[in-house]
Amino acid sequence: MDAGILTQQAFNALTIGAMYALIALGYTMVYGIIELINFAHGDVFMVGSFVTLWLLSTFGVQGAINDPPRLTIMLIVMFAFTMTVMGLVGVVIERFAYRPLRNAPRLAPLITAIGVSFILQNIIQVTFSNSPVNVPRVIEPQAGATVQLPQFAVANFQVTASPVTFAYSHIFIIVLAVSLMVALQLFVGRTRLGRAMRSTAIDREAAQLMGVDINTTIALTFFIGSALAGAAGVAWALNYGTTKFDIGFQAGLKSFTAAVLGGIGNTTGAALGGFLIAFIEVFSSQLGYSRWSEAIVFSILILVLVFRPTGLLGQRLAERA
């Protein structure tokens, strides 16, 4: 029993979970408002990481920036730019692929979403590369605070603790993700546009009658969701220093699982689900079952849905039929 390793793994899980949660928020928001599983969302995240790559190469950034003011500016530029671009991409996708199908049978937009996902992947694949591509990591990846947890013994049970390293880049990602989530909550809860979003989600027609511009509201939802996915893309590039055209499918799949696990349509649930999935993954690796982790994640998803069809925090009742 090594408390240090468990803490380290929990910290690893928080980092991965932060990224899943950011992506999951977009899924859950879009689902909440137009009841569409936006399959292209994972690929929006992937494109975000490539936008970061493009930006960094345009600025000629080669590696870690050690000068704090410059680093801060660079980070702000990276996030602002990528989030804006991806937000716009999301709006464009909504405008051309989903809006014409808003009153079509449910299956139709779902299938276009899959189509959009294919298109985004293939464009990146032929434009950049089939192989993993390096992205410079602007935050020195090995820099971090190393902490020695206290060691103690309970009766005959010795709890040891190897030192735990909290990498700055990971701390940054976790803090950023949490602040974005809080900002989103405030936006949805406290602003006029946020209210419009909520009312549209509850009853689109009623909201329309009350003077809410549905098209703008839905576009806004896509903008915010895609911008968050873009932020996750930047975080990914910062964390791993690499990206690939097909990371979107897998990350998207897990994030959607996170959204469903937490209760789709519920933003807190999405965040919770993201962290939960990351913990499951990390601790199956810790136990030496990396090769099974995917199967474990999806089995848990199926089990949760069997026992709680609305997800962990879901409130909306599933149709009984």
Binding site: I5, T15, Q125, N134, E281, F283, S285, S290
Partner: protein, 411 residues
Amino acid sequence: MKPRPLAFIAIVALVAAACGSSSGTQGPKAVKIGVDLPLSGGELPNGDPTIKGVELAIDQNPVAGYTVTINKQDDAVNGIHNPNQGATNIQTLIGDSSVFAVVGPFNSNVAQAEIPKSNSAGLIQCSPANTNPGLTKGTTGADLRKSNPTKIAYVRVATTDDIQGQAGADIAYTVAGAKSAYVVDDTETYGKGLADVFATEFAKLGGTVVGHDGVGANQQSDFTALLTAAKAKNPAFVYFGGVTATGGGLLRKQMVDVGMGSIPFGGGDGISDGSAATASSFLNVAGPQGDVNSYMTVAAIHDIPNAAKFASDYKAKYGTEPGAYSASGYACAQIYLQALAKVGSDREAVRNYVTTTANVFPTVLGNVSFDANGDTTQHIISYYKYDDATKDWKYFEQKDFTSGVTTTAAP
């Protein structure tokens, strides 16, 4: 069951066959070497340099009385090698009567689908890259060629994984002096096979395998959790069975991130993909700190007679450095061209000539001959280590696992 359509089809087939007959011509006979490799999507970097090696061999080794061209088949579907497409391709090549021999396939599971067909048709295949032992050896090998058990129709110039895994264990235990190792594989045929052999052989040498985990196709970007768990077990060596595309470079890069950068790292020829300057190569992805202390083996002889000439010829023609399997593709084609010159373009004659164990073929890989299973008798593995001066892999010794002779690089 349905007699009428059957009879009808039979007639159709006869008509079609009658129309398909060709007329004879004067001059050099046109023959083809079939090539079946993954040539699109993510696997283009594997197939493309290999087929270029074949083209170069045909250019440089003309055979009097024949004009040799290539019948090119791509076994990738949606960018990933696909056994079903491979089976279709070999069928096409069998159907093309001007094809007298085939180079390929690249991937083991494609070979599993193709071997029964080429064996049944008696069309010789030479794989430049298959290293899975089960394709030729033991009962699985025999099962694959059960329609003509005595007529080997599949040979390969790459040394099998069981030898390369031994070499990996040799590097870890002898060269790096590690007594404990952590093994990671990518759960794919090549990677897992190699990692399993490494684990067995490392234990045989006296080392301890402290852990063995695998990372499936959907987790190959994040190894931190796995490495944190591995780090706690204090391994003196980390061995990776897999290729760069399935996480080789990333694993090494993240080892540095979690503070395992000083631990030596080793892998097979799946991470032999060029210098640190080559985009997406192992050394490029792993980063400068990850490169240090990295070892790699290649399942081929290093001291080939004309290595420099081959490389410069290749570069002159294509403008790029040869790939990991360019020379192997070249060697396969060379063997076929020698057979063509000797026994003509009859498929059975070529097959018989190539697989006769007594025949020795001088190739760019040195002298190659095939054993009773169709495996190359060359069991030489070359060892490489990262060299900071050239930012590239540097050969330091090769070992012949048949004779046990080790040749060290000239200083």
